[in-house]
C-alpha cells in the first residue's frame, strides 16, 4: 500500500516526546494533539485524526507490529466496555483539571513552581534538567510540566497495553478517541446507517 505523508506523523510524536527531555516548554506544542482531533470531529464529524494522523497510534503500531513488541492477544472484555472507556475519560478529565488547578495556583502566587513530571499520577520524577527558565510567568512552565506529565503517562500506559495486548490497544481506551467518537455520535445521530451498507 502506498505511503502517504501522514503515515510519517509518528516522527512528530517522537520528536515531541524527545524535546520534553531537553526543554519542558516544548510540552505546550502537545495542545495541538488535543485540539486537532476535537476540531476535526466537531467540524467534519469524523475521527479523521485517529484514522489517519495520530502519531501516537502509529508509534504503537510500528513498535508492536513491525518490531514485534506485542503479544497480539485480545484485550480483556472489561477494557473495551463502555463503563471503562467513559470512566477512564472522566478520570482523565479530573486529573487534567487538577493539573490546570495547580497551574492556576502558580499563576496566582499561592504555590511555587514544581519542576517534576508526574508519571501515572503518582510517581514524581525530578525534571529540573529540562528547565532553563522562562521569559514568561513560572505558571507557563508549571503548565508545561503538567501537560508533559499527561502525555508521558498516556504513552507509558499505551506501551504497557501494547506489549500485553494488541499494538494499538491504547486506541480502545484513549480519552481523545472516546471523546471524538462521542462528538461524532452526537453529530451524526440523524444520519441513518441503514441507508448505507451495514457491517
Amino acid at each position: 500500500m502506498k505511503k502517504r505523508w501522514y503515515d510519517y506523523l509518528w516522527i512528530v510524536e517522537l520528536t515531541y516526546l524527545v524535546l520534553g527531555f531537553f526543554n519542558i516548554l516544548f510540552a505546550w506544542m502537545g495542545l495541538l494533539f488535543f485540539f486537532i482531533p476535537l476540531i476535526i470531529a466537531a467540524a467534519r464529524g469524523t475521527k479523521g485524526y485517529c484514522n489517519r494522523y495520530c502519531g501516537r497510534g502509529q508509534i504503537f503500531g510500528l513498535l508492536g507490529g513491525r518490531f514485534g513488541l506485542s503479544r497480539k492477544k485480545d484485550i480483556p472484555r472489561w477494557m473495551k466496555s463502555k463503563w471503562f472507556r467513559y470512566g477512564f475519560l472522566i478520570f482523565f478529565f479530573i486529573m487534567f483539571f487538577q493539573m490546570l488547578w495547580n497551574t492556576y495556583l502558580v499563576f496566582a502566587g499561592a504555590q511555587d513552581l514544581r519542576q517534576v513530571v508526574t508519571l501515572l499520577w503518582t510517581f514524581k520524577l525530578p525534571w529540573n534538567w529540562a528547565y532553563h527558565g522562562t521569559l514568561f510567568h513560572p505558571g507557563v512552565a508549571q503548565f508545561a510540566f503538567g501537560f508533559y506529565s499527561v502525555m508521558l503517562t498516556s504513552t507509558v500506559l499505551g506501551l504497557i497495553t501494547m506489549v500485553l495486548f494488541k499494538p494499538r490497544s491504547w486506541c480502545v481506551y484513549c480519552p481523545m478517541g472516546t471523546m471524538t467518537q462521542l462528538i461524532c455520535r452526537a453529530k451524526n445521530r440523524k444520519g441513518d446507517l441503514a441507508t448505507e451498507q451495514k457491517g
Binding site: G45, K47, G48, D74, I75, K80, K166, C171, E196, Q197
Partner: protein, 68 residues
C-alpha cells in the same frame, strides 16, 4: 460443481471504537469508518481475508461464513 464457502468480516458495531486500524490494513478498501462512529464492511468488496480482524485492537471483528 462444488460451491466455495464465502467468508466475510462482520463488525460488532456497538463495541467498535472507530480507530480505523482495520481500514488501514484492508487490501481491498472494503472496510471503512462510518462518520467516526463505527467500522462498516462493504459486503461486495470483502473477501474475508481476516487482516482487519487480526489488527483490530478491540477484537470486535469476526470472520463469518456466508451461506448462499
Amino acid at each position: 460443481m462444488e460451491t466455495r464457502i464465502k467468508r466475510r468480516a462482520v463488525v460488532d458495531g456497538s463495541a467498535c471504537v472507530a480507530c480505523g486500524c482495520c481500514a488501514k490494513v484492508c487490501p481491498l478498501s472494503a472496510i471503512q469508518i462510518w462518520r467516526g462512529v463505527r467500522a462498516v464492511v462493504n459486503a461486495d468488496k470483502c473477501v474475508g481475508c481476516g487482516k482487519c480482524a487480526k489488527e483490530c485492537p478491540a477484537s470486535v471483528i469476526e470472520i463469518q461464513e456466508v451461506r448462499p
